[in-house]
Amino acid sequence: MDWLFLTEVFLAGLGAGALYAVTGVAFVLIYKATRVVNLAIGEILMLGGYAFFGAAAGWHLPAWIALPVAVLSGALVGAVVERGLIRPMLGESPISVFMVTIGLGSILAGFVQVVWGADPLRLPEFMPSAPIFLGEAYLAPKVAYGFLAAMLVLAACVSALRFSRGGVALKATAADQGAAYSVGIDVPRVFSLSWIVACAVAAGAGVLVGAIGGISPTMGVFGLSVLVVVIVGGLDSMVGALVGGLLIGVVEAFAGTFLGGEYKFLVTFSIMILVLMLRPYGLFGTHEIERL
């Protein structure tokens, strides 16, 4: 076996996995606070990529302005969706809320096609393109910077959850809603906050994903891989999203290299079935979510 080649595949997998992990964290944030399985996360990610494209290529803004524009538009969508679609569904069965997010995904995908057309597009280049070598292994610069950015966002999310007021409130809400209410936490605001932050993070991830693979209205399929990631990691665990994301990224990279691209989904979904059968709450999830 060629160790150099294996290392390169492994690094590329880690790079892709970091993006899964970030999107997975966005998913987990929403699930933790509101118990909503948000299948539209892939489409929100896609919207972030398109918002960046619109700002950078449409309005000719520099990348350092376009990136906040994309993130803010994600946050805005999150706020509107939470207030308009998710809040009225409070107390309904989880399945109904789940279907609402599927409908939302469909609306967003259609909206993007109406505005920007159905053809795949390339984002303007905004990352340095000098090749990067770790030892002897070559790493595509976009993947490397994507990995770094993803890790920064992850670290920010984890520390915000641990140290900031809002993060602690979110954890309290996740642990026990009634108790959170009784110590004076504004639970509906926590719901809003979690959606806003999660959608902003997903939109930011969308810019990274779009920079590496281009953007298209079918980018929402990314959401399916993220679903695998969070199921494997555990729906309510940040660590699970991180580990699951990197794991699935690496597994996909190896499956794609040695078996062929069409085996990627087969392998990851088989892993997911295995996890569902053996540990339905995921590798790091809380056991009680099984009853959902």
Binding site: F98, S106, M272, I273, L276, M277
Partner: protein, 346 residues
């Protein structure tokens, strides 16, 4: 509750259609269904067949999701199993049309039981996700197995029934419509039997159902089997209708389509499955018609058709879930109630 429906015999109490008006309407509908192919254009017959196939599949999903409470996002994948089974039988074995349909449905029921096995371990959304995984695996199998023709799929000869080749919507209407009617009647009757009642008990609360002596695993698997039997039959009809089966014929979006159809129609009512499937099948056609209407004023309308269809599809799901969670069937019931009570209450 209606005034003056006094039952004097058990037969009257058990009847599926209990009022004279209902029976009259039913007869009228049947006569209309028989006369329809003689007056309608091929386009309308095509739509009628498509609606019937979707009604059959949506009714199957309704048994599983609406009545047993097991959410499945694999209905399209089950249909593909039925379609491929029928196509393989037709091409390689050459057995007659109706036997192929039945065999395809039975094969699909077996696959459904296999997919349903996780249902005792995982519930709710986890089960929905497990069925997504199953459809990914099935898609992979169909696009890599030499028997199913790989990515190119299979092309079928037209079906023959009593020596007549069924290759036009006019001829295909004759097998498709009666089969669908039978399937819907079967579903309506299923929920008057022990098995159907057990399904409903499981939906309402599985633990109390188990306490009542309903073996959960057996009945959940049975629900999967019945539901995928319906899907397989619908898939078989689909295969004979389009005569080409490829792995891309039944994408995940179609599974969402059927789930959306029973949400829009109303979960847990047979009427809901029918109304929802017909409604969701007709919406794209209405949109196409509308696009044709505005083309003279706005030439790009046809290019916008596909994305607008996607948006409307999503908006229908969201709108019905938020504003009318019981679906079209509930609207229909409200209209009926109005006329039952009229003029005493308005």
């Amino acid at each position: 509750m209606r005034i003056g429906t006094l039952k004097t015999s058990y037969a009257a109490d058990e009847a599926l259609f209990d009022t004279r008006l209902q029976k009259l309407l039913l007869v009228l509908a049947l006569v209309a269904a028989v006369l329809f192919p003689f007056v309608a254009s091929p386009y309308w017959l095509f739509l009628a067949c498509l609606c019937a196939i979707n009604v059959a599949s949506a009714t199957g999903l309704n048994i599983l999701t609406g009545y047993t409470g097991l959410v499945s996002l694999g209905q399209a994948a089950f249909m593909s199993v039925g379609a491929y089974a029928v196509a393989v039988l037709e091409i390689h074995v050459g057995t007659p049309f109706l036997i192929n349909l039945l065999a395809g449905a039975l094969v699909t029921a077996l696959v459904g039981i296999g997919v349903g096995i996780p249902s005792l371990r995982v519930k709710g959304l986890y089960l929905a996700i497990a069925t997504i995984a199953a459809s990914v695996v099935l898609h992979f199998v169909f696009s890599h197995w030499s028997l199913t023709g790989g990515a190119r799929g299979l092309s079928m000869p037209p079906a023959t029934l009593f020596g007549v080749a069924l290759d036009q919507p006019f001829q295909l209407y004759w097998p498709i419509m009666p089969v669908t009617v039978l399937m819907v009647l079967g579903a309506a009757n299923l929920f008057r039997t022990r098995i159907g009642r057990a399904f409903i008990a499981i939906r309402d609360r599985d633990i109390s159902a188990e306490v009542l002596g309903i073996p959960l695993l057996r009945y959940k698997l049975m629900s999967f089997a019945v539901s995928s039997f319906y899907a397989g039959l619908a898939g078989g009809l689909w295969a004979y209708f389009f005569r080409v089966v490829t792995p891309e014929s039944f994408p995940l979006v179609n599974s969402i389509f059927y789930l959306a159809a029973i949400i829009v129609g109303g979960m847990g009512t047979v009427l809901g499955g029918i109304l929802g499937a017909v409604f969701m099948t007709m919406v794209p056609e209405v949109l196409k018609f509308a696009a044709g209407m505005v083309t003279p004023f706005y030439p790009d309308a046809l290019a916008l058709l596909a994305p607008v269809r996607t948006i409307v599809f999503g908006a229908l799901i969201v709108g019905f879930l938020i504003f009318e969670p019981h679906g079209l069937a509930e609207i229909w019931c409200r209209i009926r109630r109005f006329f039952h009570l009229w003029p005493f209450k308005t």
